[in-house]
């Protein structure tokens, strides 16, 4: 499960990564780690043997149990502060199966990101692993059925690690000489072109857009079978990865500030209908979250409010089902962020009727006081909520390695600035709307006297308000 380094949302509190007791993680190249990654405890041996068998048998249900439950349990019990055994160490137990090892390594790195701090070498090795894994899948050499949950987590984690790398790369102040040298030399690692092109390739090679099109008139039953392929020993991996990559592109585009293109990429998936995306809770929440955020930035407030309302209702109804899941914390956090976004949207565009009573009462409880302040044009509150709820924007290009400053907040600052200037512009014009609603035709002079401004100024406000 993708791990957010800051517990206070996108509040850009990056100090968690800098905390002293983890500093040693970055120096692991020079230091001897106090765990032996070549030692394979019995429990792990048993885990990989069974997982390997279930994958060969295409027993999706059992694979999911092992992936969702057993992996988490073992991590909690034996690997709270250390990595799992190396892939090379477990390989003999699984016939040295190349693909299994790639899958195992993907889990291995995910665990490091979740529980430890990855070193620069680990970050780069993880990129290599994704490249190998995706290339094998793209060349059609994979004949497996994996649970959708796993496939979603793979795409989710891939993008999370990309985002993490961009943040990491942009913080030059505390980099060692060795780290800078590696960054300079291996410019292709976690390169934005690479990330986007892998997602695009998965979409293209799987032909998922055409499949979703055909689905609509029953030409294929991709959605009906939840992405699984039962025809003669089929494989769901490429198709479903292609499907989740659609959401992946939406997310990456939002991280780059390209909301228009992000929404365009999402078009093949209709979020107003159930689909494969809505059967994986993390996917549904992520999809709608980015959909809401993109619409907010494009000033499509009504659309954002509707989608927010829809997903908050769903979370409310299904929250307790996921209490035991590793995703639970992430679900709670997104829930809070979505309420913040809803508060912002409603303050900029009052549309009370679009919000369900259940959601409304939660909203008043969580954000009632802040909404009052936003209605009184308190810009600091807009700033605070935006910063809490926004994604972790990235600068896709490598920094100037000769200037040792931290660039990691640049992208966020730009989006915040543009958002706040939009807020100011909206407030300039919002007061007039309430008057104009009362009258179908009103002489400018009368309106001017109500609003206590002179006529020419009022004309400007009125023109601007109608246009918006």
């Amino acid at each position: 499960m993708a791990y957010e380094s800051s517990s206070y949302g996108g509040g850009y509190d990056d100090s968690y990564e800098e905390r002293p007791e983890l500093r040693y993680g970055r120096d692991a190249e020079q230091q001897e780690p106090d765990y032996d990654t070549n030692f394979v405890p019995d429990a792990v041996q048993s885990f990989v043997v069974y997982l390997y068998r279930y994958i060969r048998e295409k027993n999706v249900y059992e694979i999911l149990q092992m992936y969702e439950l057993n992996f988490q349990k073992l991590s909690e019990r034996m690997f709270k502060q250390s990595p799992w055994p190396a892939a090379e160490a477990i390989a003999p137990y699984v016939d040295n199966d190349h693909v299994f090892c790639l899958l195992y390594r993907e889990l291995w790195f995910r665990h490091v990101y979740a529980r430890l701090t990855p070193t620069i070498t680990q970050r780069m090795d993880s990129w290599d692993n994704y490249c190998s894994l995706f290339q094998i899948i793209l060349h059609g050499n994979v004949n497996m059925q994996l649970p959708n949950q796993w496939l979603w987590d793979m795409i989710d984690e891939f993008i999370y690690q990309f985002q993490s790398f961009c943040q990491y790369r942009a913080k030059l102040k505390t980099k060692t000489e060795q780290e800078l040298a590696l960054l300079r030399e291996y410019a292709d690692v976690w390169n934005v072109y690479g990330v986007l092109n892998y997602l695009q390739a998965l979409i293209e090679k799987s032909n998922i857009i055409q499949i979703l099109e055909d689905d609509k008139d029953g030409g294929t039953n991709f959605t009906a079978q939840n992405g699984y392929d039962f025809q003669g020993g089929g494989s769901n991996v490429l198709k479903v990865l292609g499907y989740f990559s659609i959401v992946g592109l939406l997310r990456v585009h939002c991280l780059l500030g390209d909301y228009y293109c992000g929404l365009k990429c999402l078009l093949p998936i209709d979020i107003h209908q159930p689909g494969v995306y809505s059967n994986v809770v993390g996917c549904q929440i992520t999809t709608v979250y980015y959909y809401v955020f993109a619409n907010l930035m494009l000033r499509r407030y009504v659309e954002a409010i509707k989608a927010c309302n829809q997903i908050l209702l769903i979370i409310h109804k299904t929250k307790q089902d996921h209490q035991a899941s590793s995703q639970f914390q992430q679900i709670l956090k997104k829930n809070e962020q979505l309420y913040a976004l809803l508060a912002i949207c409603l303050s900029l565009c009052p549309q009370g009727k679009l919000v369900d009573e259940t959601v409304n009462s939660q909203l008043r409880e969580k954000q009632g006081e802040k909404m009052l302040r936003m209605q009184r044009n308190d810009e600091a509150v807009f700033d605070e909520l935006f910063s809490f709820a926004c994604p972790k924007f990235i600068t896709p290009s490598p920094p100037n390695y000769d200037e040792l400053v931290n660039y990691n907040q640049d992208a966020y600052r730009l989006q915040l600035k543009l958002f706040l200037s939009e807020v100011r512009q909206q407030q300039l014009l919002s007061s007039i709307r309430s008057y104009l609603k009362l009258y179908s035709a009103i002489p400018i002079s009368k309106l001017a006297s109500f609003m206590d401004v002179d006529e020419p100024t009022l004309r400007l406000y009125e023109d601007g308000s109608s246009y918006l």
Binding site: D128, V189, Y193, L256, R299, L414, S466
Partner: protein, 235 residues
């Protein structure tokens, strides 16, 4: 540690029969198309055409490789985006342009101009535009596009308006304005009357914005299902 050069983009020849829009739809994350996209901006300027998708793609590539960014081209893209008002294209572009750059010219001026247009401060807009002709006159059709936008805004707010307000909004007066009004009266249902204190009052055609009763979708109405629930109580 093995580091293979990642061949992130498939080798593709840009065949002449594909339009830029098609290329961008199929293979957008490709550094090799950058020169073609730049050439396409010049084409849009010269032929008075416009393509948001390809321009956004170019801005994105500039984001990926800032050393290849061409300020003149970005400025032209922004001017074209202004000409697309009321579409929000200008703001879409701004999300992709680094903050540092936005604080330099010509971007500062373009941002100011955009702000004036979005808040309907047409007098201020035309004054500022006049002071910065050199940025704008490189894009043919700019003035006409803004006049079209100004008329659009006026038609949303006014049923009738004084000639002076119209003149300020579209930066026209005297004989050319007279001619323009004549044309609108004959072809587009405008009317021109004498104002009581002198001058002229222009009447604009009715639409659902300046005549709210024409509005077809009355969002405040109560749906039938809600009303029918009341009936048992009433009987």
């Amino acid at each position: 540690m093995q580091r293979d050069r990642l061949v992130a983009t498939p080798e593709r020849d840009v065949a002449p029969q594909y339009t830029m829009e098609q290329i961008v739809a199929v293979n957008p994350y490709n550094p090799d198309i950058l020169p073609d996209l730049e050439a396409y901006v010049h084409e849009q300027v010269n032929h008075q055409t416009y393509s948001l998708d390809t321009n956004l793609c170019l801005l994105r590539l500039y984001q990926f490789e800032p050393s290849r960014m061409n300020i003149q081209i970005v400025a032209r893209i922004l001017v074209k985006a202004l000409m697309a008002l009321p579409a929000p294209d200008f703001n879409l572009c701004m999300f992709l342009i680094p903050e540092k750059l936005q604080m330099e010219e010509p971007f500062l001026t373009l941002i100011t101009l955009a702000h004036f247009l979005e808040t309907a401060r047409f007098r201020d807009f035309w004054d500022e535009a006049e002071r910065n002709r050199q940025i704008l006159e490189v894009v043919p059709g700019f003035e006409q596009a803004i006049q079209r936008f100004a008329l659009h805004v006026l038609s949303l707010s006014y049923q009738r308006l004084p000639r002076l307000v119209l003149a300020e909004a579209i930066n026209m007066e005297g004989l050319s304005l007279d001619k323009f009004l004549e044309h609108q009266v004959v072809n587009n249902g405008w009317s021109v009357e004498k104002a009581p204190g002198g001058g002229q009052i222009i009447g604009l055609p009715a639409n659902e914005h300046n005549y709210p009763e024409l509005k077809k979708n009355i969002a405040d109405s109560i749906p039938l299902e809600h009303v029918s629930k009341l009936f048992p109580v009433l009987t």
